[in-house]
């Protein structure tokens, strides 16, 4: 993946050549100043995919190695990033528990156990997907209304003191969100965001959008408390709603409609390719590819069809059921939607009312303190 590691081989100094501090007094430190390479990244699918890849691969490889050694350079960020490991391994283990055992079951018992196991495994997958995707239900409206992208990503690059003499400092890459912390948002990297625009370009924009006024003397100072407000409210909304959506994902996955999808997914349903002896290898290879494509398209269609069917089943509830049993799907779907919507509205209203409150003070008017 394309995470920038070009700095890895550059020799960059932290302190003057003569400087030394135990226990690193053996390390040679060149006398150049280290530039801050921390950069804001575009918030798109590409960045998200690359960031996730970097985080997950590091969480499974680099960080555990450092952590198990008790490395002095292990950080809290690495510990938090390793939180992905139990999340992923746990999901796989749950899937395995639901599906693994039936392999050894006698033939007649396999089917029933697998049907439920498959659906629960799909539930684990849907839980993660729904939880992740549902963030947008809060972040997108908030961004549209306030201009603040609470998921704005940035890559932090830092350098640690090398272990060996004359070695280049080790670059460390961390994937963060500018507004992931309410206590310490990265205000510093929001200055000079756009070339050719004023230093406070970003803050001016947010101030204008939220009714704090135009051409403010110090828009950054005005906007920073508003940003904190938005982080707090939107984070609350996301915490409460995304898990609820994750739950809806599981509820969707346990609907009977998916049994048909698993049938479509099974080996038995896969149309096998038989090479034509009269054709050459290339033609057979192309035909094999076409056959595979057709099978995948068939499975994708089945997924789509049953997704719609399962959604209806979740919404309508079992035909024979009554009361809560009948309407439970509807209720939880409504609850998740309501929490997302109310969370987003609360965040937007907070930002807008903040602007209204602030506008009562005329920043151009001199105030004399007695």
């Amino acid at each position: 993946m394309g995470i920038d590691t070009s700095n890895a081989n550059r020799t960059i100094a932290l302190t003057p050549k003569s400087a030394s501090c135990p226990p690193y007094d053996h390390v040679h430190i060149p006398a150049e100043h280290i530039p801050d390479e921390t950069t804001i990244l575009p918030n798109n699918l590409n960045t998200r995919a690359r960031s996730s890849f970097q985080k997950v691969t590091s969480a499974f490889t680099e960080y555990p190695v450092k952590g198990l050694k008790g490395d002095k350079k292990s950080t809290f960020y690495e510990f938090l990033t390793m939180g992905n490991v139990p999340y992923i391994l746990g999901s796989l283990t749950f899937m395995g528990l639901f599906n693994g055992a039936p392999s050894w079951f006698p033939n007649f018992n396999k089917k029933g156990a697998r049907h439920w196991g498959n659906r629960m495994a799909l539930g684990v997958l849907f839980y993660g997907l729904a939880k992740s995707l549902s963030k947008s239900l809060v972040t997108v409206p908030v961004k549209m209304a306030t201009g603040i992208d609470t998921e704005m990503p940035y890559q932090k690059v830092s350098y640690t003191i090398p272990e060996r003499k004359d070695a280049a400092p080790d670059p460390l890459y961390e994937q963060h969100k500018v507004f992931e912390s309410r206590d310490f948002p990265r205000y510093d990297i929001l200055y000079n965001m756009k070339e050719g625009e004023p230093r406070n370009y970003y803050y001016d924009r947010i101030a204008r959008k939220n009714g704090l006024g135009k051409n403010l003397e110090a828009s950054d100072g005005e906007v920073k408390p508003l940003i904190k407000d938005v982080i707090s409210r939107s984070s609350t909304a996301k915490s409460l709603s995304t898990y609820m959506w994750g739950g809806v994902g599981v509820m969707l996955a346990v609907q009977p409609a998916w049994v048909n999808f698993f049938k479509a997914l099974s080996n038995k349903s896969w149309t096998k390719f038989v090479p034509n002896k009269n054709e050459n290898k290339f033609i057979n290879l192309v035909d094999r590819g076409i056959n595979t494509g057709k099978n995948i398209a068939r499975i994708a269609k089945s997924f789509g069809r049953n997704f719609v069917k399962a959604s209806k089943e979740l919404y309508k509830g079992p035909a024979a059921a009554k009361g809560f049993n009948k309407h439970a799907g509807k209720i939880f779907l409504g609850l998740a939607t309501a929490i997302s919507a109310l969370g987003a509205i609360n965040t937007i209203c907070g930002a807008k009312s903040y602007g209204n409150r602030k506008i009562t003070i005329d920043s151009n008017k001199k105030v004399q303190v007695d």
Partner: protein
Amino acid sequence: MSNLIQNYANNIGQGISSVNNTTKKYYNNLTDANSDNLLKPLDGKGYLVENNLVTAPKEFAKDTYYTTKALSKGIAGKANDHELGKLNDLGLKLGGLSIATYLMTKRQTPKMKAMEFIGFGAFLASMAIWPKVALQWPAQLVHGFNFRKQYVDEQGRKKYLTQDPNYIPFDLMKGKRKSEDLGHIADKMGIPKDEKDRNELAKEHIRKVSVQNNTLWMLTAGVATPVMTALACNRIEGPLGKLTEKISNNKVNKMIDKIADYQKGDAGLSDEDKAKFTKLEAEVVDMKPYEASEKKLSDLLTSKTGQAVSDSDIENINKLLSEGFDTQTQKTAKMDLQFMLKADKTVVNSDTVNEISDLITKKLDTKYGEGYTASVFDTKKLSEHVSNFMNQNGNPKNGVLNPDKAEDLRVSLGQLIQDSLDGNKSIRESRKEVIADMATDAINDVFGKKKAAILTEDAASQISKAGHILRKFRAYDKTISSAAHFKVENAPETIVANNWSDVTKTLIKELKITPKELNEAKSSEELTAQLFTRKLEKIAKDDKKYAEFVSNIAKKMALLDEKLDNPRTGKRNAMDVLTDGIIQNCDGTSNELNSLPFQNLAERIKGRPIDGSFIGGIKDAKLNRLKGDRLDSVKSSYMRLLHTADFFRRAEEYNNGQGGFSGNQKLDKALIEKGKKVLMSEHSGEFYLKHQTANNVSFYKALIWHTFGSGAMSNKTKEALSGQSHEVFVSGKTSMAERVTRWAKHVGNLMGKNVYAFLPNHTEGHDEAFTRAQKTAVAKFNKIACTPDNMLYKALKEHYNTNKWLKMCITAGSIVLGITLASQFAFGKQDKVTK
């Protein structure tokens, strides 16, 4: 100015000296240098959290309050990062609860519903327990400190002391206990007392071990938490099942007691007791769920009363009338409705007269030219005549005439035309006859068309009454059926299903089947039969083991009747109450329907009277379901198992020279060998085929006699089946030993022993009188019941599945736990630089 500064400095010094500075004391003990005269900071407000069983409730309350406060601050935009983190935990729990609640709605039994919440609880508990048991405690034992110690910082935020390796607030470790004492930790590390920077080395050790453990926690939790959750759920499921069964059974038994009270009726009760009875009736026969549909029926009938009803109207009425019944009953109800609403009435109104006039005019004008009819007679007279007739007959509603009145009108109309023609001298006689015939044909045609089924007020009232009776039937039946379902139905978590599971589990346990045997036997029923035979032969050889085997299994079997019948002093037998309830409901409903024109429906509910009993109706089906098919087959299966054990024991005794079969050694050997096979493996099909003995009638008769009919039982079996715990078969009030013998003799008789014939239902020559119901193929199938090898085979498969799954979980869990525990000994090794 200088005075001010001096005063300030003095005040500071006084302030410090007046504070009980624990930090100062502690550091004084740690270092050789005397620091008494040094200026030291005040103690911070942060503190380490004491987490133990005593403080747990207080900490829980504090945490809950903190999270609630965090939520309100979060919504108001004031929550800090720590509080937002707590809200994330809250979201996780709420999401989990929503999943458990939804999955609960998909489950049918109380146990499975409860398991959804227990599963989620077990998941949360596993998340908390794993790092404590597998990492925290072992690490504390090996390294002397708790790396998951929590502290509350100056801002009141509770955190783990070592979660951020670059910021560990060591100043909070004030040596209150050994695990918070750097000196003690250094001792554990083996650092010499005189080592330079001893405390710093201890701090580095703490940091390093903490980073290692935190990493290992992250690496292992993903596997350990699900496995622990699964194992915990597996362990809880059994005891929970027993608890939910007890709670549900008590609840059902209470309802059965109410049914029993309802069955007594309110005759002879005082006014006060009658009021109580009305309340009881409303509970047992709860009509509320049926009120809406009853109103629908009533509305439909009101809207159709006095009108002609079509086939589709009858269909719609029937749908509401027989709502909730099976297709056969619905068809029967329709049959009654069609009979009641047959098309024998005639509707006479202005249209009728017009149609007659039009038809006569059309016929005559076609034959004799346009305008001819008008010259012959005045059609207005027809209208007047009909009007007069209807007036004379009291102007029936909607012009509906009964068949006799309609006939009178038809004849009188014909007469009217005849009179009119007679008075007309201008028409020839021969033509008059033709005209009269044509007019009569026209009248007949119209009257024929006007025949209709009319929903009279009487009919509407009767249908409405029938609708109420049927709904009352359903309301009472619902109460009885829900109790009966829990007791005997072929569904998860019923009394019978749970008991079957208990008995089969006990069977596996008593047979002492090894994992290897289990693995082989679960492959086929034949292999199971071989294993079962081997095991039973071995057990039968040992007096003590045999007695235990029979007694332990029979004790479990006996519990079935105890749970079903709920034997209590002063209370009626629960199953009898349900049986009587079905009879009372079906007979009562049938009698009431019989007084209305719904005789077919009445018969459908009560059954057709054949040979003095009513069969083929709803009552018969319900009684069979309650006590016949299901329960009889289960109990017969139990008896067959015990009888098989007894036969094996008798065979063993015979081998030891005790007891006897036919007295002919060669024959006895063959009888024993075949008898074992018959009892162990042969289904009703083989019984019908006379156990493949077509070429040897005498052997067949001897086989049946010695295997089933002789009434012989080993003394050892009798002893094992004696005692109070085996005499709780309330219904029959007999001991288990008697029951087994009775079952065996019954099967012997039922399947034929004196007459050798291949007719499935022949019972000639039997020395026991059977009812017609006892002789049906189904009854025989139920009596022969499940073969012991089949019973064991199915149980083994289930046992194998559970075992395999458990083994997989335990293996995975053990490996992870082993690695985690062993890792402690590799953690904390000092690297060269530190040394």
